[in-house]
Amino acid sequence: MATKALGPMRRKFAPWDDPAARPFIEFRNVTKRFGDFTAIDNLSLIIYEREFFALLGPSGCGKTTLMRMVAGFEEPSAGQVLLDGQDLAGIPPYRRPSNMMFQSYALFPHMSVEANIAFGLRQARMPKGEIDARVEEMLNLVKLKPFARRRPDQLSGGQRQRVALARSLAKKPKVLLLDEPLGALDKKLREETQFELTDLQQTLGLTFIIVTHDQEEAMTMADRIAVMDHGRIEQIATPAEIYEQPASRYVADFIGDINILEGRVAAADSASIRMECGGAGTTVLAAPANSVAAGQTAWFAIRPEKVSIALAPPTEAAVNCVGGEVWDIGYLGDVSIYHVRLATGATIKSTVSNHTRMIERPITWDDKVWLSWTPDAGVVLTR
């Protein structure tokens, strides 16, 4: 695998590579049907203790259903869900060792912030002194001490989000389920909260499962991401692997921006793959990949930031080099995205970091440019 080439991981935590690691949450051939609709289709998945796991996919892909099965709000139609070795079938939500943070926050409007946080502890019949101490601890954790006696409707969106978080953490659950936890926050606050959540998860040493449709959110926070589509898992991997080694066009397209060129494999061996990409009118030389055979249809996928753009043709060999005209430029401040139209009419995007302060960039509309990339810059996908 190309994993080694991806540079150091965020931290040394990879129980999924350790065959001796014990599964913490396990889905075994789980299927969930609602009438004729199959929300989860024979899905198996293992999540490890202390992992920050993200379920990522478009709405209706089954990610929320999967999470609700852990919480106990849905029972699988077939298969098993296990937590710490115990089959969860038939255990009602109020007896499960998981807690959930809801998308709408679901704060009890008729209770103060304190009472909301204490609610779960009261249900567990914890002594009053301990409840008070824990509520205090939680209020400090989410920095809401001065708002303890307020009611949810007297708080801002960000504060409500933190109350919801404190409430779901108060019982120290074995698993914290987060359903689109940052969806209602504005961009700045969302980015801040992403890092706070990651910190919190590492400090508390809990297992977090987050459901999101926001790929950036999943990439920033999660140890591993499961990309879902139509009740199935398309790929489970670390954020870097998902980005650099997508398993399919679906995953490649869902995560980040990508150029996909369809073509026919002309030659494939252990050293390289040569593809004829008719749509782009060029031949692509790419790094080897498993299960790619000569003669089959395949797709060459390359991220825009890995495509170099130049006004002069590169001096080296003519492989992985194609000429075109600048069709459109997207200036985002930190980067510029060049949409380059090839002779065949296809478009390839190239992203360039704007290292220098210049109002007028050297490459502009209608310029004749050359796009090039190294053989290991893109991946060959077969589905």
Binding site: R96, F102, Q123
Partner: protein, 267 residues
């Protein structure tokens, strides 16, 4: 916007309100009339209110009415709330649309038919008519009003609030009492108020289902009026109008406060 003054609007509003409230205003004014003659003004007096309080039969009828209203409104609120929950929560159970249609039917059913059919039922099962038959009859129709009011609140109720309670370890029945009920309380109280007022001023159904010894205030008033309107009746009616107005205003204020708070939360 066309908010300018227009004679047509002014006249139609005045005429409309006059048509609605002039008779009531007249009744209230004449309840303070010194004269025994209803149509001749002879100066201000509260003597008919004093007279009213001395009329034991009238007071007995008032006491019956209040008891009927309290009991029927309370029972109807419990049953109506349960019906509303069943309608909103249990998804598409068999016969759901029939059930929900049947909840609305008594709202538009003429009182005469409701009263007559209940009378037939009580006769058929040999139930002695009296206080309790009126109560039962009132529960029957107030329940529908409560169900409709509570149902409209439950439709907008965020189910995840209940799920959050369950998730935090609260069993379902307790969740209903500590989460759901306090949140829908304004609608439930408004439903109770509505049931109470409806029971208070019902004449037709009570007349059909009553028996010896159980005379409600509207029945008493009606029977007295047949012998001629006395200012005393005007006084009773004024008190009744006051009570009903108070009930309706309170119920709508409670609902409005909830709506306002909901809006505030949305912002």
């Amino acid at each position: 916007m066309g908010r300018r003054f227009s004679w047509f609007n002014a006249v139609s509003i005045t005429a409309g309100f006059a048509f609605l409230y002039l008779p009531i205003l007249l009744l209230v004014i004449y309840s303070f009339n010194e004269s025994r003659l209803v149509t001749v003004w002879a100066g201000f007096s509260t003597k008919w209110y004093v007279e009213m309080l001395r009329n034991q039969a009238l007071l007995d009828a008032a006491w019956v009415t209040i008891r009927v209203a309290l009991i029927s409104a309370t029972v109807a609120t419990v049953l109506g709330t349960m019906a509303a929950i069943a309608l909103v929560r249990f998804g598409r159970f068999r016969g759901r649309s029939l059930f929900s249609g049947m909840i609305y039917a008594p709202l538009v059913m003429p009182d005469v038919i409701t009263g007559l059919s209940l009378l037939l039922l009580f006769v058929a099962i040999g139930f002695d008519r009296g206080f309790w038959t009126i109560v039962l009859a009132h529960i029957t129709f107030s329940m529908c009003f409560v169900a409709v009011v509570v149902q409209s609140r439950l439709v907008t109720f965020d189910r995840s609030l209940e799920e959050a309670a369950l998730d935090l370890g609260c069993p379902p029945l307790k969740t209903f009492f500590v989460i759901t009920l306090p949140i829908i309380a304004p609608a439930v109280i408004a439903g109770w108020m509505l049931g109470f007022t409806l029971s208070l001023d019902d004449l037709v159904i009570a007349s059909f289902t009553t028996g010896p010894g159980a005379t409600t205030l509207p029945m008493k008033i009606y029977s007295q009026v047949r012998l001629g309107v006395t200012p005393e009746i005007n006084a009773v009616c004024t008190v009744l109008i006051g009570l009903v107005t108070l009930g309706v205003i309170t119920a709508s204020l409670i609902e409005k406060r909830r709506a306002l708070r909901g809006q505030a939360r949305a912002h």
